[in-house]
């Protein structure tokens, strides 16, 4: 069966781009997070939409599961082959198809990386930028959009799925479809005014199709950029502080962070506020607006902006920041994973205290923080735990802490983001039964053979 599968896949993509060898089966069985290994039978790397289609048709014929994968950096194990089958590694499809500078969108292939688009725009369209997640630059745009990611322009533009303007998708049954304006006009400017079929593919953990192209919004790239770091001691003030800062509608990105390391930061609550402007005068005007919004706290001397001379701001303006990946080396063990829970901003104090309590209970190295989504509309609150991959007990400790965090986040009213397979079950338990029933009905229509990333979003 496997040999037949490999041979037939090789006929589609060429023998160099399919493997059922032990090395690939081992490496693709896990991601850098804590989820246990689940090996595929084959890994295949299609070069274009037609090859993706052929692979899916073959999987239907053979009733073999299909798992789409971007860079494999989700950390929560969503690209593991829980029931075996074929992992479709999309990274050969990494072309930037189009940039429309006037309507500010880019069309990219399903395996195109964040870093490549950033670099491409810098060279060819320096007046434009896209919202980079904190993930390393090899992370793909499609993967990030499909998990409802967020990034450096999320206060300005919402989550990355909000920045989606359309998709080309190969359905589980093999049809190639388009969503958004490109399905009518051939241009990729918006998802409206049509029925929003993109929602059939975003947040589904790869259970409804494979995205082969997508359009994303671009934003003005500023000549002058700055970051402020606001510091407070009282978590209960944070929702109001965030509300006031976002009310200025000036920030591009706001990321609160609370970490015991470096030691000077322990116990304090910080908010990095990034913003930009075309002129220095405009930049100062925006800074003044931000500062004025929280002046009351400053005058009370209970919170304020950390003084940072210009040379020290560079590392805070680096996008993406390698500091995030470096957290994995905290325990000299190459691992971290986090629960990122979407929740209402007023729950910030509860989430913060829950994170501290869990870190203490499980004795894990932690970093807490959040990213504000939209103009203070909600936030992704993260509870990150570093672990030593070589120490099974340490991995278990982190894994237990993550599970407890998922429970705590749900209890607070939040929803774990890009949830691991067990956490998906926790969410389903709390979900309106009719909602879940609809999810199931939609999938049975789209994927009658149940080949798409099975094991996810199941009871």
């Amino acid at each position: 069966m496997t040999t037949d599968l490999i041979n037939r896949l090789a006929k589609i993509v060429g023998p160099g781009f399919v493997s059922g060898e032990a090395e690939e089966r081992y490496l693709y069985s896990m991601d850098p997070g804590t989820m246990p290994a689940a090996a595929p039978d084959a890994v295949v790397m299609p070069a274009n939409t037609e090859e993706v289609q052929q692979v899916i048709l073959l999987a239907n014929e053979l009733k073999v599961p299909i798992v789409p994968m971007g860079a494999g950096l989700v950390l929560s194990g969503l690209t593991r082959a829980l029931r075996g089958g074929i992992i479709v590694d999309m990274k050969r499809m990494n072309h930037i198809i189009e940039v429309n500078p006037q309507s500010r969108y880019a069309v990219v292939e399903g395996g195109a990386s964040q870093g490549m688009l950033k670099s491409y725009l810098k060279k060819h369209h320096p007046q434009l930028k896209h919202s980079m997640p904190d993930a390393p630059p090899i992370a793909t745009m499609a993967g990030n959009v499909c998990i409802h990611g967020s990034g450096h322009l999320s206060v300005l533009g919402g989550s990355h799925s909000d920045m989606l303007t359309g998709m080309e998708v190969v359905l589980p049954s093999g049809e190639i479809i388009r969503t958004g304006s490109c399905s009518v006009s051939g241009e990729w400017f918006a998802r409206s005014p049509l029925p929003d079929l993109s929602g059939l593919f975003v947040g589904w953990a790869g259970t409804t199709g494979i995205v082969t192209r997508l359009g994303i919004k671009l934003f003005p790239s500023y000549k002058h950029n700055d970051v402020l770091i606001f510091v407070a001691e009282d978590a209960d003030l944070m929702p109001e502080i965030i509300s006031r800062l976002t009310s200025t509608q000036v920030a591009e990105d706001m990321t609160p962070w609370m970490s015991p390391k470096p030691a000077w930061a322990k116990g304090f609550l910080h908010i990095n506020i990034a913003y930009g402007a075309h002129t220095k005068k405009e930049l100062i005007f925006k800074r003044n607006l931000l500062q004025a919004s929280v002046r009351e706290y400053i005058d009370q001397k209970i919170a304020g902006f950390l003084p940072l001379p210009p040379p020290q701001k560079g590392r805070f303006l680096e996008i993406p920041s390698p500091d995030l990946a470096r957290f994995a080396d905290l325990r000299k063990g190459g691992g971290f994973e986090y629960v990122g829970a979407l929740m209402a901003i007023e729950h910030f104090p509860q989430a913060y205290r829950a994170g501290l309590a869990i870190a203490e209970k499980f004795n894990v190295s932690y970093s807490l923080g959040s990213r504000i989504i939209g103009a203070g509309h909600c936030m992704m609150f993260f509870f990150a735990y570093a672990f030593n991959r070589a120490d099974a007990e340490d991995v278990k400790r982190a894994s237990d802490a993550l599970e407890a965090t998922n429970e705590a986040a749900l209890k607070i009213g939040g929803i774990p983001w890009k949830a691991e397979e067990p956490a998906q079950k926790q969410i389903i338990d709390k979900m309106d039964p009719n909602t879940f029933a609809l999810m199931d009905r939609i999938r049975s229509v789209l994927d009658p053979n149940q080949i798409m990333n099975p094991g996810n979003w199941e009871k």
Binding site: E23, Y26, L27, P136, A390
Partner: protein, 384 residues
């Protein structure tokens, strides 16, 4: 295995796959094969898995390990300070462990066997290592200021020999005092060491050091950046202490003494940084200084330059083993396309291996009428 204690620390975040400006994939093996297994992070995890007996020492695993071109892009761009300095050392140790386990790709085995038997990978007699001179009048080393050291490619490969003759002629014209050795030098061993054959490397180096010390050599100019790396960084620990320069490093300061023709051709030139001169020895300027001082030359830069340069794919022994060849996305082919995109008419190289690799790529890409690969010394000499 040496460095095994760091293998699990790799997070596989993937910074190692890209240059600092993220333009495109910059790891030659990952670029050619695209499976995660061929990326630096993949190698780290597979080595750990092998040591933990989760995978075996298969042919494919050996191919994955020996496909590393040791270009150093991963070391340059890995996000973890200090840890990253040991990445290539860990890969070399892994290759050494595979050699010990007897699992070696056939071309690697052939390469090492030839060197073991003949002192060079071409299977030629060391006694005939002066044939590249082809009638050039060059003094044997006696009491000159420098020894000119020629690598295997410069000694035995026809294109490499042309380059060696070109550099010799230019050094003479620039008035540099140097002599050569034509009947005693073995391979510098740089790529043997990169393949993990430490004992063979030490044997080669010790034989060379014996000759060099007997002749009381103090200063060495190398043709190849690979030789520079071995002689400068690895020979001292084995008793070979010399001042070692790549020829561009000597020539850069002698350019003022050269006179050029009034009718020099105008050309847009992109310089391809060799990994063992650039990332491994952090000299990004000598060759550019030379090219900038040549009349008629306009230097253009490719998107990936200096510490972001894309390797030609010939390092780590791949020049001889060809593990990275085949397919449209070999780094040499991608590199010449990049040079054309940068508007270059000439792709300047400063390493005989890069010259051969990139010339082959120009042919494979049918770009002969768009771009020419020339060694830096050849560009200078064309304009006398």
């Amino acid at each position: 295995m040496e460095h095994e204690e760091i293998l699990h620390r790799c997070f596989r975040c993937g910074y190692c796959k890209l240059p600092g400006n993220y333009v495109d994939i910059n790891c030659p093996a990952y670029l050619a094969f695209r499976f995660e297994t061929y990326s630096p992070g993949g190698r780290m995890w597979l080595l750990r898995a092998w040591l933990d007996e989760k995978i075996s020492a298969s042919e494919r695993f050996a191919e994955i390990m020996f496909s590393c071109a040791t270009c150093g892009n991963c070391v340059e761009h890995c996000a973890f300070p200090e840890f990253r300095d040991r990445l290539l050392l860990a890969f070399t140790a892994g290759k050494e462990a595979l050699l010990d386990a007897g699992q070696v790709p056939a071309p690697v085995r052939d390469y090492l066997t030839k060197i073991q038997l003949h002192g060079n990978p071409y299977g030629k007699s060391v006694k005939k290592s002066g044939q590249w001179l082809d009638g050039l009048d060059v003094a044997l080393f006696s009491d000159q200021e420098h020894l000119f050291f020629i690598d295997d490619v410069g000694t035995y490969d026809p294109r490499g020999q042309e380059i060696a003759r070109s550099v010799v002629t230019l050094l003479q014209k620039a008035g540099i005092s140097f002599g050569i050795i034509t009947d005693a030098m073995n391979s510098d061993g740089n790529d043997v060491k990169a393949m993990g054959e430490t004992a063979l490397f030490e044997d080669l180096a010790e034989k060379n050091i014996k000759v060099l010390n007997k002749l009381n050599v103090k200063k060495i100019i190398t043709l190849s950046p690979h030789s520079l790396n071995a002689l400068k960084n690895d020979y001292p620990a084995l008793g070979g202490q010399y001042q070692v320069f790549h020829y561009t490093q000597v020539l850069a300061f002698a350019m003022a003494g050269l006179t050029f023709s009034d009718k020099e051709p105008e050309a847009k030139i992109a310089y391809h940084d060799p990994c063992y001169l650039g990332r491994h020895n952090t000299d990004y300027e000598s060759a550019r200084m030379i090219l900038r001082s040549v009349p008629g030359v306009t230097l253009v830069e490719m998107d990936r330059n200096r510490n972001n340069a894309l390797c030609c794919g010939g390092g780590g022994g791949n020049f001889f083993t060809d593990i990275l060849s085949g397919g449209d996305e070999t780094s040499a082919r991608v590199r010449v396309r990049e040079a054309v995109d940068a508007g270059a008419e000439i792709l300047a190289v400063a390493c005989p291996m890069c010259a051969v690799m990139l010339e082959d790529a120009v042919k494979a890409e049918n770009l002969d009428d768009r771009i020419q690969v020339l060694e830096v010394s050849e560009i200078v000499r064309q304009r006398f």
